[in-house]
């Protein structure tokens, strides 16, 4: 009986939403927004080690944004509701309320925001506040922000505030500013130059009082840096450097050492061919608005990982996220577009991408003082964190048939990346064949055959996936993720670990409204978006998702 109630409620609310939004939104009004609801009904599944569902079997995450916009004035709010949060999301999200609200005034030169806002300086090495709702990451600022364009080509930003930490604010007060100068816009002598030059600088300060009885801690921690972006013809060069004064914290084991981050990208592009080379050096650069914050909470800066984001199920088992305490990383990527009717391109053309990346520890000489260690710029240590070599060939055979063939080699340092002990490295090879067959102009069958080979961890996997879509409304998908190579047994040999993770989903889309229902097993693992990850436990059950923009 109890089980039925949430469904009835859910379906009723979905009805409301789709009918409200069926006309594609609040036509012509200056109020717009979006809505998302994710719910799951959990069933016990001892084979996959799914934790027995809590007393309440249905959990959900939901939010809705409402924004008003006129020429000079903007306002909006977001209501979030986690009753209770889905498994895998931090239980600190439990509850409902208005988590985000703002008022903005703007004209051509000036913009002032009071309340919540997201902001980024440069590529984020010094400061980035952002949201990734699928991961439960949200370090929105609560305070005041001013953006000024005093003259052509000059952009200034200043802000003060505190960061969101679930339903509270972090202790630290942030004060910062950023300036950017675009030479080609600012100086008449540069207007017609083929070379484009943009430089920028940013500074951030965090204040958190020292309540620690044992240590004298810096209460004001400054962090700042500069960046440059240069373009000429097909060439681009961009680089950013950020330096932080000593900032003892839980993440760096309370050492009194300065930190720095350096990032450089060199690219060459022409139509049909492009190369990108990137390098990065990170040293003691975790910067948070509370010293004891861990996980994904209260990050002031953002340290992008220099690795490709894999979206296929199997290579995505082993994702990478930057190690803020120290990392040297490189990435190279080449893109080709072989033209139609060329010798290698075939009749309809072929895309080819080759990508390689490697991240290692920084070389450290340990010291017996409070600074912990010394290191040299860009000097790698012995320990490899992650290595990825992948090739993707996207070939169109005819007007109705396209295939994507992918190979991925990964060297994944499970101990370091997942913060564990005794697992060592996982070396894996994956091969994936995706086929997209357009049966008629409205009906398409997409299939994926995936195989991952490894002797370590949970050993080899295979995936078969089929998705049938009837454009533009319906999609039906089913896949089986089979851990066929797993020789381990669980609970004293009681359970064979060669498990099928089978999932089926149905989705209905009407313009900007989407409703989907899925039933199946979710393997335990890490879900990542944009290089930030969260752990999800194994689970079984029925999931419901509704999204809508209006």
């Amino acid at each position: 009986m109890k089980r039925v109630v949430p469904f009835a409620f859910l379906l009723f609310s979905s009805t409301l939403v789709t009918s409200l939004a069926g006309a594609q939104g609040l036509a012509g009004t200056p109020v717009h927004g979006n809505f998302q609801f994710d719910g799951q009904y959990y069933v016990p599944d001892s084979i996959i080690g799914a934790p027995n569902p809590p007393d309440e079997k249905f959990l959900n995450n939901a939010f809705a944004n409402f924004n008003y916009e006129s020429d000079n004035f903007l306002a909006g709010l977001r209501y979030e509701s986690y009753l209770n949060p889905l498994l895998g999301f931090d239980p600190l999200y439990k509850g409902s309320g208005i988590s985000y609200r703002y008022l903005t005034y703007r004209n051509d030169k000036l913009e002032v925001t009071a309340g919540n806002f997201y902001e980024q300086f440069g590529s984020g090495l010094t400061f980035r506040s952002y949201e990734e709702r699928q991961l439960g990451v949200d370090n929105a600022m609560d305070g005041i922000r001013v953006r000024i364009k005093p003259v052509n080509g000059v952009y200034l930003k200043g802000l003060v505030g505190r960061q969101r930490n679930f339903w509270t604010l972090g202790e630290g007060i942030l004060r910062g500013g950023d300036a950017e100068l675009n030479f080609n816009e600012a100086f008449t002598s540069w207007n017609t130059k083929k070379t484009q030059l943009i430089i920028g600088g940013s500074f951030m300060s965090k204040y958190q009082s020292d309540q620690n009885p044992d240590y004298i801690l810096p209460e004001n921690v400054g962090c700042g840096g500069g960046r440059i972006s240069l373009m000429n013809g097909g060439w681009t060069l961009s680089s950013e450097y950020s330096h932080k004064i000593n900032d003892p914290s839980t993440i760096n084991n309370y050492i009194y050492k300065d930190g720095n981050a350096f990032l450089v990208n060199l690219g060459y592009n022409q139509k049909g061919f492009a190369v990108l080379l990137s390098a990065k050096n990170i040293d003691n650069m975790s910067y948070r608005s509370e010293r004891d914050a861990t996980g994904n909470s209260l990050n002031i800066n953002y340290l992008p990982a220099l690795t490709k984001t894999h979206t296929y199920l199997l290579p995505a088992i082993y994702p990478y996220a930057t190690q803020p305490n120290g990392e040297v990383a490189y990435q190279g990527e080449v893109f080709f577009n072989l033209k139609p009717n060329s010798p290698l391109g075939g009749q309809y053309g072929t895309d080819l991408t080759v990508n390689y990346s490697r991240a290692t520890d920084i070389y450290k000489t340990n010291l017996n003082d409070s600074t912990g260690y010394t290191t040299s710029f860009f000097k790698p240590g012995d320990e490899v964190f992650f290595e990825d070599f992948n090739v993707e060939i996207n070939h169109k055979w005819s007007k109705s048939l396209r295939t994507i063939l992918t190979y991925v080699y990964l060297n994944y340092n499970k101990d370091v990346i997942e913060g564990r002990d005794g697992f060592g490295h996982v070396y894996s090879h994956s091969g994936i064949l995706e086929t997209i067959w357009k049966i008629t102009s409205k009906k398409t069958l997409r299939t994926e055959l995936q195989h991952l080979y490894t002797k370590q961890d949970q050993q080899s996997w295979a995936v078969v996936l089929a998705e049938y879509t009837i454009s533009p409304k319906w999609s039906f998908a089913a896949f089986d993720e089979y851990n066929y190579g797993n020789t381990h047994t669980d609970l004293g040999g009681k359970y064979d670990q060669r498990i099928h993770y089978f999932t089926g989903t149905v989705a209905f889309t009407n313009n900007a409204n989407r409703f989907s229902l899925g039933y199946g097993r979710q393997r335990a693992g890490i879900i990542c978006v944009g290089g930030v990850c969260r752990n999800v436990p194994a689970s079984s059950g029925l999931s419901v998702s509704i999204t809508s923009s209006f």
């Binding site: 109630v5 980035r128 675009n182 061919f273 893109f335 889309t509 923009s549």
Partner: protein, 173 residues
Amino acid sequence: MKKIAALALLLSLAVMVRAQEAKETLLFKQLPAVDVKLMNGERVNTSTFANDGKPIIIDFWATWCKPCIEELNTIHDLYPDWQKATGVKVITISVDDARTMTRVAPFVNGKGWTYESYVDPNGDFKRAMNVNMPPHTFVLNGKGEVIWQHVGFAEGNEEELYEVVKKVAAETK
């Protein structure tokens, strides 16, 4: 109780089916004014997006989003014909963040795409347009009004998109 659930399900389906007809409606009288960046880092305000009184398609995508790439590949094959018939312009907005933003320019060039391409690294335009997840596609008419949107992509969706574009182009002639 089960009856209530069944009733709710039926009701939902009925309303959803009724809401199926894709019609153009006025969504935004004008695009929200937000700074996005060209692939070279130069800022452009979205209020300056224009196409001489002809329709514009705005497509939110990311280098890590497979359906987005499918959509842009599919449209690209048809783009010359669409342009010839309707004068439509496709503007792509990448929501890649600092991690993958540097891949956008080589990716676009590597694919040989000829779209007008921008990046929105901290999601300012994405939020202003209420985009949940890419791909999310909008159509603007000749007056710059946003009159249609669609989330997700499956092969064949491009036909519905083109129907809207043709209709809009005919209205403004």
